[in-house]
């Protein structure tokens, strides 16, 4: 945590205003068929902090990521980045503005070398346009890009793998490569979708260190994660989503005591004892609960009977 707490005096409630927000979202909805996958009324992301985004499976975290980075279109809603609207921008334009993401299933470019993966990340390369490739001297820029790539590869301990094909890397190394490649763009906001998923515990610590170092380099980090220990370890602020909406916000220490969070993860009835009679049928309060749950499952009209 930086010397001055950037969250001092911020009330831990959903949609609260931050002292220095870098991203502000309002009224974002995304509907898939009849399902409201994302329904975020208001959310602000603090500049220069690590914000963790958590929630049970299907809470809409990745969908929100896709919307924010232009990989999906919302049904409604606006969001701004550094005061300028970011919605309706194509994914590559969002990235060029400085909001760079990684993916839950790593997208290492398998049949390219690790070094080429890195070089691809650099922005503003004149040799990347068709005529620029033929008629400009892009060699000098290429050397600068390569030098920067090497520095990052050394920092992420991938320098020994520079000439290997990215497809030959292990799962954890691919996560490292993807993060390093995102840094080639000099991003302002780094959005990491489950950076620790499928990574062995030893490498998790390394990855955590790298995520923290992003904040030390004045970047804003927004990341999705399931592992509570990871969340508690590195995030400065936690946003909890369930069924598409933000249900809680606050510092990580306050999470486990938040009733809404516990209910979202474990269910509303998690602390009630279940009672059965000798035949195994539910009795008393448990029987009421079962009736309640079955009616919810069947839905309001029981036209499609015989399927329960």
């Amino acid at each position: 945590m930086p010397a001055e707490d950037p969250f001092a005096g911020v009330p831990p409630e959903p949609g609260c205003a931050k002292l220095n927000p870098i991203m502000t979202m309002s009224g974002i909805t995304r509907v898939f068929g009849g399902l409201k996958a994302v329904d975020v009324e208001h959310l602000e992301i603090q500049r220069g902090a690590i914000t963790g985004l958590i929630g049970p499976n299907g809470a809409g975290k990745t969908t929100l990521f896709n919307l924010l980075t232009g990989f999906d279109r919302p049904n409604s809603g606006t969001w701004t980045f550094e005061g300028r609207p970011l919605n309706r921008l194509a994914a590559h334009r969002v990235a060029r503005r400085g909001v760079v993401r990684t993916f839950q299933l790593t997208k290492a470019l398998a049949k390219m070398t690790v070094l080429d993966n890195m070089r691809l990340g650099a922005t503003g390369q004149t040799g990347e346009s068709f005529f620029g490739a033929l008629f400009t001297r892009w060699g000098r820029q290429e050397r600068a890009v390569t030098e920067k790539a090497w520095e990052l590869l050394v920092r992420f301990r991938l320098d020994a793998k520079a000439d290997d094909l990215a497809g030959s890397l292990s799962g954890g190394q691919r996560k490292l490569l993807e993060m390093a490649r995102a840094l080639m763009m000099d991003p302002t906001v780094v959005m990491l979708d489950e950076p620790m998923a499928g990574v062995n515990p030893a490498l998790t610590q390394t990855l955590l260190g790298h995520v923290k170092s992003l904040r030390d380099d004045d970047m804003t980090v927004l990341f999705v994660e399931h592992d509570m220990d990871v969340i508690r370890d590195i995030s400065d602020w936690v946003v909890v989503m369930a069924q598409g909406s933000v249900i809680a916000e606050g510092p990580p220490e306050a999470l486990s005591s938040n009733k809404a969070v516990v209910d979202a993860y474990l269910g509303v009835h998690h602390d009630r004892a279940l009672e059965f009679d000798a035949d195994g049928n539910p009795v008393g309060e448990t029987a009421e609960l079962v009736t309640e749950m079955e009616s919810v499952e069947r839905g309001p009209d029981t036209a499609r009977d015989g399927r329960s």
Binding site: A90, A95, T102, D116, L120, Q125, G127, F130, A133
Partner: protein
């Protein structure tokens, strides 16, 4: 008995012949599409058709000079790429495949329709556009012989021009794919979304690749139309695209020289197998009795397919391919 020296000279004539030039240019285009960008273009022959007919119609019907006709032919390739690319390149890869193969058949059926005979020559074909090309032939003698391989003077001229075009095309492809531009294409082949997340305008790159590869296809059509001096619609049928794919995969996709060497070897193989079968089934006492000599035309492609199958088993990366890359797919 079988005359092996005749087989070899015929094979070499095909190795450097105008068919090899034609398929080399088609395959160079497909290499940009499929080998570098991952675009599935199954209608490359359509680009050759608009190239050849664009030039032929411009010169024969509108009296343009030959260089003007060539520019019209290349322009037709660009327009076809735009027409096919704008609706499909934002969609998944298979949509482009469906649309391109359909478009190439539509183009062939339009050019052979009798209502357009005055314009395209219909099924009788189009001639009368190659006068300037023949007149520019610097070779004076009727025929030339190199190491026992004989070429007619027109053929030799077409071969010289054709291979010059191939060499320049290869040079252009080499310059492009070693540049950061080529790196973005390969990234799109590997994962479009990753390229997008790194700020690359994927649609624009795919469009550029489709146009470039299509122009190589049109160039192939132009070279072939000039060398045979007539355009017949049924030559531009879908199997030709797949011969070009065979040449590309044989040589190694995603390698600069792969499509050229692949096309040469493909036509060498076709010629040698064809000659071998013809000699073995001909005469009073044929070596092979169970194949009739009229079936040879079909059976040679069965054998070519078999050889390609064996190549894929023992050398899946093609002649120039990188074994490391292919092994990644096997995991």
């Amino acid at each position: 008995m079988i005359d092996f020296s005749a087989l070899l000279t015929n094979g070499i004539a095909q190795l450097v012949g105008t068919s090899a030039v034609f398929f080399a240019l088609l395959a160079i285009g497909l290499n940009i599409h499929f080998g570098y960008t991952g675009l599935l273009n199954f209608g490359q022959i359509g680009f050759a058709l608009v190239g050849g007919y664009g030039m032929g119609i411009a010169v024969a019907n509108f009296g343009l000079p030959l260089w003007g006709g060539v520019l019209v032919g290349l322009g037709c390739g660009v327009v076809l790429a735009l027409l096919l690319g704008i609706p499909t390149l934002r969609l998944r890869a298979d949509y482009l495949a469906i649309v391109t193969i359909a478009a190439s058949e539509i183009l062939r059926l339009i050019t052979r329709s009798t209502s357009l005979t005055n314009f395209t020559g219909g099924t009788q074909g189009l001639t009368g556009y190659g006068g300037a090309f023949t007149a520019a032939n610097p070779f004076g003698q009727p025929r030339y012989s190199f190491f026992g391989v004989t070429f007619l003077r027109g053929e030799l001229w077409a071969i010289c021009v054709g291979w010059t075009v191939v060499a320049l095309s290869v040079l252009l492809v080499w310059l492009l794919v070693r540049s950061p531009w080529g790196r973005v294409l390969r990234a799109i082949r590997e994962d479009e979304d990753a390229a997008r997340a790194l700020g690359k305008n994927v649609f624009a790159y795919k469009m550029q690749a489709l146009i470039l590869g299509g122009v190589f296809g049109a160039l192939g059509g132009i070279c072939y139309a000039l060398s045979v001096q007539s355009l017949t619609p049924d030559f531009y049928s879908p199997p030709q695209t797949f011969f070009a794919y065979a040449a590309l995969i044989l040589g190694g996709a995603g390698r600069v020289l792969g499509p050229v060497i692949g096309a040469m070897i493909f036509w060498f193989l076709v010629s040698v197998i064809d000659g071998l079968l013809r000699q073995a089934t001909a005469g009073d006492q044929p070596v092979i009795t169970f194949i009739d000599s009229i079936d040879v035309g079909a059976i040679r492609f069965v054998l070519v397919g078999l050889s390609l199958g064996l190549l894929m088993v023992f050398r899946p990366q093609g002649i120039f391919g990188n074994r490391r890359e292919v092994q990644l797919d096997a995991r």
